[in-house]
């Protein structure tokens, strides 16, 4: 009832023309970013966050949530049309979407992808709304020791599961933590590794680090790949819009309801755990649908259930990954980590107190998320002919513009060329990490959570008089420490097993 009351009172705040326009813009830009070759949701979020500095807090977050939602489904369009997913999470959509397009059902495949994405997203948002407040209330029991243990667990999960290699994941995570210590000490305010540079007193700018290592590094990486490959454009399937062939009735779509619910729950489960990405959810959803199907052999040959499973699962991550973000301040994935940056720009620090201090804003964000799903459905459906044109844009034209857009985006909030320099330095570091197999996501999340880890650890030391056994005496902290050990043990076992297996042909 409290949740319902809060939602109702937030409707006034959220349902305004300005907010709706920001959501429309966010969803449309998100779909474009998902479609445009080489851009994707994370790059779009990284580049757009600095611009939201000038928006009112609710509109800024609603806009970015729109980008997240639109981006996830946008990636399915090039996957269906040209068998080249705009985002990795849409890769499984190509398995059945492209064969459908080849047999003249591109329009139907795109509609199914859109409807599934919106359905999965809505289920996930409802779970977020129901769970976030109780979870945040529980998280109020967390003291510094519990936070320290919870962050260590998220680092273990990130390094052990989200990264391909445990050792490289740990190096990347600790590199992020180390970089986060640059600036004034959080307890005694003494300068650390600032080299006399006043602009470093507040630490490395979060946005410059995120945009550089995520967006610009990704663009540089693709530019080098294009330079090496110099390949021609991919064959495009001309979508047919014949009404009969491409019609998707409500009854026909909801005949997939089992797949929708299964995939939405899988996506929400994956989203709730820090570090597990959208791509994993998409493939888990696809695999589960295939196993549950009476005709698993039809998957990969143009079975609409394959698209439903993938799109419902990958879209369901975006709502659920905000549960640990809102309740603990620990991001569920990199998009949520970027949202933390956006909240901080607007003076809101994600964590258990956020639901108390900024309850109005958070419930208005919840309402905006539900509105964004409706907007997503309308814009996604009406815009299909436009999205088809965007999917044909050459990467050679898109990527260089993203570079310049990133530089402008980082310059604008502080009007600082120093921040542009930091962004460019992190772009080179990001390129090095991508090329050598280090996880940039681990580094960025380590960088974001580093200050919280250090502050919690030092507060624990002060409160418990340097007695670190509190980490195993508090039941909650002990629970997280046990999970940390278990996660690392599983990751080590997996690494040893992989090392013992003979490499496959062509590996």
């Amino acid at each position: 009832m409290i949740i319902l009351d809060s939602l109702v009172s937030a409707i006034d705040q959220a349902v305004t023309l300005t907010n709706v326009l920001f959501i429309v813009a966010g969803v449309a830009l998100g779909i474009f970013a998902g479609i445009l070759p080489g851009v994707g949701t994370v790059t779009a979020l990284s580049v757009l966050i600095p611009i939201t500095f000038y928006f009112p807090p609710l509109s800024a977050i609603a806009f970015l949530v729109g980008v997240m939602k639109g981006g996830t489904s946008g990636g399915a369009i090039p996957a269906i049309l040209i068998n080249a997913p705009g985002t990795p999470e849409a890769a499984a959509s190509a398995l059945d979407g492209y064969p459908m397009a080849r047999r003249g059902e591109a329009g139907r495949a795109m509609k199914i992808a859109l409807y599934s994405s919106v359905s999965g997203d809505t289920i996930s948002d409802v779970i977020l709304i129901l769970v976030a407040a109780p979870f945040a209330a529980f998280a109020l029991n967390f003291g510094p020791a519990e936070f320290t243990a919870a962050i260590l667990f998220s680092f273990a999960l990130l390094s052990g599961i989200a990264s391909g290699s445990l050792v490289k994941g740990l190096i990347a995570t600790f590199l992020g933590v180390l970089l986060s210590t640059i600036g004034l000490d959080p307890v005694d305010s003494s300068p650390r590794m600032v080299f006399g540079e006043v602009e470093l007193f507040d630490g490395l700018p979060v946005l410059a680090v995120a945009v550089g290592s995520l967006a610009v590094a990704s663009v540089l990486d693709q530019l080098f790949d294009l330079r090496a490959a110099r390949r021609g454009s991919e064959p495009t399937v001309e979508p047919t819009f014949d009404k009969e062939t491409n019609r998707v009735g409500l009854g026909a779509f909801f005949s997939h309801w089992r797949t929708i619910i299964r995939s939405a729950l899988i996506g929400s489960g994956v989203g709730m755990l820090p570090g597990l990405g959208v791509t994993l959810a998409a493939f888990l959803g696809y695999g589960a649908a295939r196993r549950a199907s009476k005709s698993p052999e039809s998957f990969g040959t143009g079975n609409p259930d394959g698209i439903v499973a993938t799109e419902a699962a990958n879209s369901a991550v975006s709502g659920a990954n905000l549960i640990p973000t809102f309740a603990l301040g620990i991001p569920g994935n990199i998009a949520a980590a970027l949202l933390i940056g956006a909240f901080m720009i607007h003076g809101v620090v994600p964590g258990p107190l956020m639901m108390q201090l900024h309850a109005d804003l958070i419930y208005a964000v919840f309402v905006s998320m539900l509105m964004a799903n409706v907007v997503h459905l309308i814009i996604g459906r009406i815009g299909i002919p436009i999205w088809v044109m965007a999917a044909r844009a050459p990467r050679a034209a898109v990527l260089p513009v993203v570079l310049v857009l990133a530089a402008a985006g980082v310059y604008l909030p502080a009007q600082s060329l120093f921040q542009v320099a930091v962004m460019l330095a992190f772009a080179v570091l990001g390129l090095f990490m991508r090329r050598t197999g280090f996880s940039i996501v681990c580094m960025v999340i380590g960088f974001l959570l580093g200050p919280l880890l250090e502050t919690s650890l030092r507060q624990s030391m002060l409160i418990y008089k340097s007695d670190l056994t509190i980490l195993v005496r508090s039941p909650i902290a002990l629970f997280f420490i046990a999970l940390t050990v278990l996660t690392l043990a599983l990751a080590v076992r997996r690494a040893l097993r992989d090392a013992r297996q003979p490499p496959s042909e062509g590996a």
């Binding site: 050792v167 005694d188 330079r227 050679a396 260089p400 402008a408 772009a427 940039i440 650890l457």
Partner: protein
């Protein structure tokens, strides 16, 4: 994995080289930068400001050593020979470093319009896009459009 986390498969020699680089950077932090740049004085029951930087640097050093050892062990296996060569990775990273330095210098000294136009044109030429009908309008118009948008919407002039 998120889109931004699509990392290349790395071979054993790449791991050895990357591990060595990380280890050297961590050593530099532990031996020179942290002692010179971070106060070591701790308050009562508190840890010193140098504690977290030092611990993380030592952890990076230790894990980098492990990466090097793993790389040496698998250098003669088929999987160890997979992935990009160290030379290609080094060449691309150095090229990127030079390119972004030039962009920053151009941004500071020549301004956003010239730096942006040059960046777009050079990047397009570098990846083999030779159609002037595409390169010239994009390089000319995109920075102008961004500058005008930031001025008219946010009242901020991109220098």
């Amino acid at each position: 994995m998120s889109p931004a986390d699509t990392t290349a498969q790395s071979g054993a020699w790449t791991d050895i080289a990357a591990g060595t680089l990380m280890a050297l950077a961590a050593l530099l932090m532990v031996a020179a930068i942290i002692p010179a740049e971070v106060s070591d004085a701790a308050g009562r029951n508190d840890i010193s400001p140098a504690f977290v930087p030092q611990v993380t640097a030592y952890l990076i050093l230790g894990f980098s050593a492990l990466l090097i050892v793993n790389g040496i062990k698998r250098r003669n296996t088929p999987a160890g020979r997979a992935g990009q060569s160290v030379g290609v990775v080094a060449r691309d990273v150095v090229l990127a470093a030079v390119a972004v330095t030039l962009f920053q210098l151009a941004f500071v000294h020549l301004g956003f319009l010239i730096a942006g136009a040059a960046a777009i044109a050079v990047a397009m030429f570098a990846i083999g896009e030779r159609r002037l009908v595409l390169v010239v309008p994009l390089a000319g118009l995109a920075p102008v459009a961004l500058q005008q948008a930031s001025w008219r919407l946010l009242s901020i002039w991109l220098p």
